[in-house]
């Protein structure tokens, strides 16, 4: 929670500085965010690879655990497609690309901006990227704040699916608390798998 609020604050600080136009840096032309993204992905890889739990997580995995990320993916994509009925401006695939961020706001928004630039132009691509950013931040907030209710009404797997990628990091402590300790390997496994699917689905729907 604190983490996402800090991220939100920095994002807003960036917005304000951008509006004020006081930083002499042409971000539209530089690939700065792409390089930072590579740095991020390398670190995410390092943390997964060096994780002490890696072996026990792999050992503890049963085939039916695959059903949970599968449910997350199908439920998210299907309902993102429904959302496009309410949003006349964007195509069904645009909405599915936004949905397939699975709460990975930083990665999905940058990927969408990059991938959509060719077909939509920089302006619309940045707009869709912004929607992806906000949308996936909202999703993380909903998972963080809603977990107690989700467990109560929809069972212990619901917050894992709702958290998307963040079931393995930001939302994990609260999932552990409300869904139970036995859900930790499931939540981490889910997060890693969903994490791997984000670049795939986002680029896939951006190309359709």
């Amino acid at each position: 929670m604190k983490g996402s609020l800090i991220v939100l604050l920095f994002f807003m600080a960036g917005c304000i500085l951008g509006v004020l136009d006081i930083i002499p840096l042409d971000l539209q032309k530089s690939n700065l965010s792409m390089y930072i993204l590579y740095a991020l992905m390398l670190q995410v890889g390092l943390s997964i690879g060096s994780s002490k739990d890696l072996k026990s997580i792999i050992k503890d995995i049963r085939p039916k655990y695959l059903l949970i990320p599968l449910a997350t993916i199908i439920g998210t994509l299907l309902f993102s497609a429904f959302a496009s009925l309410l949003l006349s401006q964007w195509s069904i695939f645009d909405c599915m690309a936004v949905g397939s961020g699975f709460a990975y706001y930083s990665l999905s928004s940058i990927l969408i901006t990059q991938f959509k630039e060719a077909s939509l132009g920089i302006q619309l691509a940045t707009e869709l990227g912004t929607i992806a950013l906000l949308s996936n931040i909202f999703r993380e907030m909903m998972a963080l704040l809603g977990t107690p209710l989700l467990v109560k009404y929809f069972g212990k797997l619901a917050p894992i699916s709702a958290a998307g990628v963040n079931s393995m990091d930001v939302v994990l402590p609260i999932i552990t608390r409300y869904s139970g300790k036995d859900m930790i390997p499931v939540a981490i496994f889910h997060g890693i798998l969903i994490d791997l699917t984000v670049p795939f689905f986002v680029s896939f729907f951006c190309r359709l």
């Binding site: 991220v7 960036g14 509006v19 965010s33 390092l46 439920g75 302006q123 707009e127 929809f154 797997l157």
Partner: protein, 94 residues
């Protein structure tokens, strides 16, 4: 896309090889710093884009609609998986 996944997989391999090194304990922290930096840069490019700033209210609503719908979809799907595949034979207190 492949360079991004490739970067992550190189990270996983390097992380596994050097898993006993101390500096890898700090990835959690550096990841959050990197995310903060990334989002700050994103904020800069959003803020310096007049069209987005003028339409921020409308973007917020569109984002909220997709987020709400997508989250509900995954919750319903997770609930189905729980009732269909996990309930029988397993009794964990919720």
């Amino acid at each position: 896309m492949f360079t991004i996944i490739g970067t992550m997989f190189s990270g996983i391999i390097l992380g596994y090889i050097f898993r006993n090194m101390d500096f890898l304990r700090k990835t959690e922290k550096t990841i959050s710093y990197t995310i903060i930096l990334l989002l700050f840069i994103m904020g800069l490019s959003v803020g310096s884009n007049d069209r987005i700033i003028e339409n921020l209210g409308s973007f917020g609503w569109q984002a909220a609609i997709i987020a709400f719908s997508a989250t509900c979809g995954s919750i319903v799907a997770a609930w189905l998986v729980l009732t269909l595949f996990f309930k029988k034979g397993e009794s964990h207190e919720g």
